[in-house]
């Protein structure tokens, strides 16, 4: 059984969105994913981290985003968490095109992209406590 873990926390600054993508991509690279699988993972991470920064913390850069990754055999599990304002109704939030911040030109496609690109996405959130997104993806070893 192959296993590897990494936990990261970083300032809730938008410049760290690309950092989060690079970090997860280098970690996931050990599973030898295709370029497309890697892009799927980067996109999903980008969406979740951006949401924590914009929605969870409303761009308060003094706050921290938590990113945890685990490889177990051929599956990567990625957790993105914030201790921000939380989501009132997760089911509504996850609907395609739903956004609470149209004035920021959010497209409301964040959760849809996470669900399209990962095998499984689970969101749990408590109002005024924070939000946790758990995503997994199996990387198909035999190419």
């Amino acid at each position: 059984m192959m296993s590897n873990i990494m936990e990261v926390k970083f300032s809730a600054k938008s410049e760290n969105e690309s950092l989060a993508r690079v970090i997860v991509a280098s970690f996931a690279a050990k599973l030898d994913p295709t370029l497309d699988e890697l892009a799927d993972i980067k996109t999903a991470v980008s969406e979740a981290v951006t949401n924590s920064i914009i929605h969870g913390y409303e761009e308060d850069e003094s706050k921290l985003v938590y990113l945890r990754c685990k490889i177990l055999d051929d599956t990567i599990k990625i957790v993105v968490e914030d201790r921000g304002k939380g989501i009132e109704d997760v089911d509504i939030a996850m609907q395609p095109l739903y956004t609470s911040k149209p004035e920021l030109e959010r497209s409301g496609m964040g959760f849809t992209f996470m669900e399209s690109f990962m095998d499984d996405v689970k969101v749990s959130s408590i109002k005024n406590e924070g939000t946790k997104v758990v995503m997994t993806k199996k990387i198909n070893l035999p190419k």
């Binding site: 969105e17 690309s18 892009a39 951006t50 497209s107």
Partner: protein, 111 residues
């Protein structure tokens, strides 16, 4: 962030960044909206040749500009999109309102 040129009221926008995410979306939006205020623009053509990553924040910027320009009868084109970025456009359903062409020339000649 972006370079631009204006020809016959067609605004050509060229990204200098390689990744169109939330971090650069704000600046891109401001820069373009400044141009839309100060110049006469009918259509916008986004050249994606440098962009190898885009997420839903990128979709937001493009839709936002589409809303501005389409209310005046203008169109939005994207050219030189990589297969990956194309996939993102397709998933977002934006390919129904935005015109995707291989090259700048094809976009212009369709006008």
């Amino acid at each position: 962030m972006i370079n631009y040129s204006l020809e016959h009221k067609n605004l050509l926008v060229d990204f200098m960044a390689t990744e169109l995410d939330h971090h650069i979306a704000g600046e891109v939006r401001e820069k373009i909206d400044d141009i839309l205020i100060s110049k006469q623009v009918k259509n916008i053509i986004f050249d994606f040749k440098n962009i190898n990553f885009m997420d839903s924040s990128g979709i937001g910027v493009i839709i936002g500009r589409y809303k501005k320009i389409s209310s005046e009868g203008g169109k939005v084109f994207v050219v030189n999109v990589s297969p990956r970025v194309k996939k993102i456009f397709d998933l977002s359903g934006m390919n129904k309102i935005i015109n995707i062409y291989d090259t700048y020339e094809e976009a212009v000649s369709s006008l």
